[in-house]
Amino acid sequence: MIPVIEMRNITKTFPGIKANDNVSLELRPGEIHALLGENGAGKSTLMSVLFGLYPLDEGSILVHGEEVEIKNPNDANKLGIGMVHQHFKLLDNFSVLENIILGFEDTHRGFLKYDEAHQKVIALSEKYKLKVDPDALIRNISVGQQQRVEILKMLYRDADILIFDEPTAVLTPQEIDELLNIMRNLTEEGKSIILITHKLKEIRMIADRCTILRKGKGIGTVTVKDVTNEKLAEMMVGRKVIFNVDKGPSKPKEIVLEAEGLTVFDSLTRQSVVKDVSFKLREGEILTIAGIEGNGQTELVYGLTGLKPIASGKLLLHGEDATTWSIKKRNEEGIAHIPEDRQKYGLVLDFSLENNMILQQYNDSRFHHRGFFKFDAIRDYAERIIEKYDVRSGKGPLTYARSMSGGNQQKAILGREIERQTNIVIAVQPTRGLDVGAIEFIHNTLIKLRDEGKAVLLISLELDEVMTLSDRILVMYEGELVGAFDPKKTDEYELGLYMSGSKKTEVLS
């Protein structure tokens, strides 16, 4: 039986890194084939090559047994290959319909056939239970729905080779179940699927075979039911993995941050995205706010740090009313903020690393004399952080932040924020897109902070991260706190129910 896809000895190099190194992969008709690997292992790159986004340096691709050259996504489409990207590729201000037909438009004398497309999309979404409103704007729909749009894009193009790049990262366990079902239906129709994920139990649930990548190299392909999870994990990381961080019980002390009925508006739609949220944060604890992306966690943090005004309610820092304080003042009064979007907020990409290290403290008398910089002091300070947090970069303090790897950018931010010696640390998805090494480091750092008696507010989508780090868990759904939990007395499935809004209880903080 000829495989639908055969990738032979693919090599792909990026400036400074070999993303794929002689990798081979084979996809059989009607199978679900998992692709497993750490961050940066080269999964997305391999698939991007298959989808025609990056030209391959070496190797060959066969579709239905015939060697093909896939120069761009068009070629991929023609070959029936579709891809749901890890970072959605959607036009925020365009309608769902426009997003689906773009690049594959049906026209009559050059005019778009909106109505026919509209019907076709409706039909598809009913057939595969992918409910979306074709006329809604992308920016107004949830992440889950956005993923459906991505899937519809593929189906609209009648793709029968479907690539899913980490589709479950943004979903609740319930939504994940739905998605996996949809995948099964698809394969029953004879479509073949490549599924990228880090999550072993998903692979176990649905995948027939699994190919493992490590640091760009293909480690091998196994039939899932023949191997144990431990084996898979070991192949992925290259060493025996211990699935837990050592962490003693927390010793909470007095309240340092207190939110009373906070409400925050979305600046565009002028509607409240954080609704009457109240909680207390104590020294010496890690309080986690769990929830699916886009349920107000981001805005809540903006409200706390001052990036967005607090519409109503009250914010107390060390008992003082800080509701109307400027960002500057909140920084000085002890809030450190590891932002969700490292490139947008965390760094000035065109500044050198050392300039980035004094982003909040440029005005500190340590670094200037009457407004004139003490460059040596700045250099020393930056070098200390680089040293302590093992930030790897080409030219040390002089490296432009833009040219640094995501993980190293993240480590730099972490170092800067922690070295400010504040006693409140707000960390938003601090490990997003990092490899296990970096993740371990950051997790341990956060725990160390807690044990030093600092207050840590963690915002995370990754349930396993939530379970490992938290001392207390609050679940946020559609701008409200819908549940408070003790990690020892709950599990990911229960959290999932709350995160998806199918269950809620009064939160008494």
């Binding site: 990036l307 960002i327 920084n331 907020y345």
Partner: protein
């Protein structure tokens, strides 16, 4: 010793951001001159050579005089150039230097005519007046941007026209010379002191304006590169969001940047009209200096020192174009063509830089460099 400096040079070549930029600017300039030469060749082969020669050597044609004149003509261009560059570093495109320049010029001339009681301080106060009113005019788009989110480009364009008409109205009402249908001439005490005695023969009209330009270059260079204030400005320019996150007051910096930018343009206006025998007109057309400033700031990679050299280079070309009138019959627009082409090539700098970097890496022996 020699060896050491050699190595220093290699280091600079290889490490400093500026090296590649400088080299690519030079490439751009050569490209521009080449095109200019080709145009002349196409029109009058016999004269093309001498034409190019004149353009390149015009500055020295009449010894210290033409040299002085070159610098003199470049002063307002350098200043408007820095005005534009300064705003640019904060991520603002100040296309309104013209308006700020005009309003500043009026203020300077007004003071120059009326406040004769100031004695030796007269011209200084006049320049300051120009700076202040220029700043005022520049602050308007700044305020509109900061508080009403008005695109500074549109606001500046509108303010250019408003400034032009307003200055005419003000001239007619306060400092009008009926016979000449122009503004009155400032008092002698308001003229910028001539420098000619110091560094050129008595024939050049080079004056203190150049010193002012140098001071502005120095000050802006220090602000941008050595101070916390400049740090804020650049940070806002590079990344608004990160600056807010860091607690930097974005609005304040936008307003300050535009205000300072306007002040510098205002000074440019002052240097243009605080001279004998140059009178403000009541003609409703925008002064070109402001727009040339944009080009020069870009050519100078929007760094004060870069702009200084770009401006002097511009002055030299202008001078060359002036002498072109005797050595050839090419109309002076050839100079503008050359400058336009240079600017265009300098826009391709990114490409050149990649290429230059590539070449450098080839030619510079790794051993010579010695990474730290």
């Amino acid at each position: 010793m020699k060896k050491w400096s050699m190595q220093g040079f290699f280091k600079w070549l290889n490490n400093s951001e500026s090296s590649t930029k400088v080299i690519s600017s030079i490439i751009a300039i050569l490209g521009g001159l080449l095109v200019g030469f080709l145009v002349m060749l196409a029109i009058d082969p016999s004269k093309a050579g001498i034409g190019l020669w004149t353009i390149l050597t015009g500055t020295f044609r009449d010894g210290t005089r033409s040299f002085g004149q070159t610098i003199h003509y470049s002063v307002p261009i350098i200043l408007t150039g820095i005005s534009v560059a300064f705003a640019f570093r904060t991520g603002l495109f100040n296309i309104g230097a013209t308006g700020q320049l005009t309003m500043g010029a009026f203020a300077a001339v007004y003071v120059g005519i009326n406040w004769t009681f100031l004695g030796p301080l007269h011209w200084i106060v006049a320049v300051i007046a120009g700076a202040l009113v220029g700043a005022l005019w520049g602050s308007i788009p700044g305020l509109l941007k900061a508080y009403r989110n008005v695109n500074e480009v549109v606001a500046s364009i509108m303010l250019n026209y408003i400034g032009s008409f307003l200055s005419i109205l003000l001239i007619k009402t306060y400092i009008y010379n009926q016979e000449l249908a122009r503004a009155l001439s400032p008092a002698a005490s308001a003229y910028l002191p001539r420098l000619s005695q110091l560094i050129t023969t008595h024939r050049s009209s080079l004056n203190f304006g150049f010193i002012i330009a140098l001071i502005v270059v120095a000050v802006t260079h220090i602000i941008l590169n050595k101070t916390t204030f400049g740090y804020q400005l650049k940070s806002v320019g590079f990344n608004r969001d990160a600056s807010r996150y860091a607690g930097i007051n974005e609005k304040r910096n936008i307003i300050l940047a535009m205000t300072i930018s306007g002040a510098i343009a205002g000074i440019a206006g002052a240097t243009m009209y605080l001279v004998p025998g140059r009178l403000m007109t009541i003609e409703s057309s925008l002064l070109q200096e402001g727009f040339t400033g944009i080009a020069i700031s870009l050519l100078g990679l929007s760094s004060p020192i870069g702009v200084l050299f770009a401006g002097l280079f511009y002055g030299a070309l202008e001078m060359g174009g002036f002498y072109l009138q005797v050595t050839t019959r090419f109309v002076p627009q050839i100079i503008e063509i050359i400058i336009a082409v240079i600017i265009y090539f300098s826009a391709l700098a990114l490409f050149f830089q990649k290429y230059v970097q590539f070449v450098i890496n080839k030619v510079v022996p790794e051993s010579e460099v010695g990474h730290e």
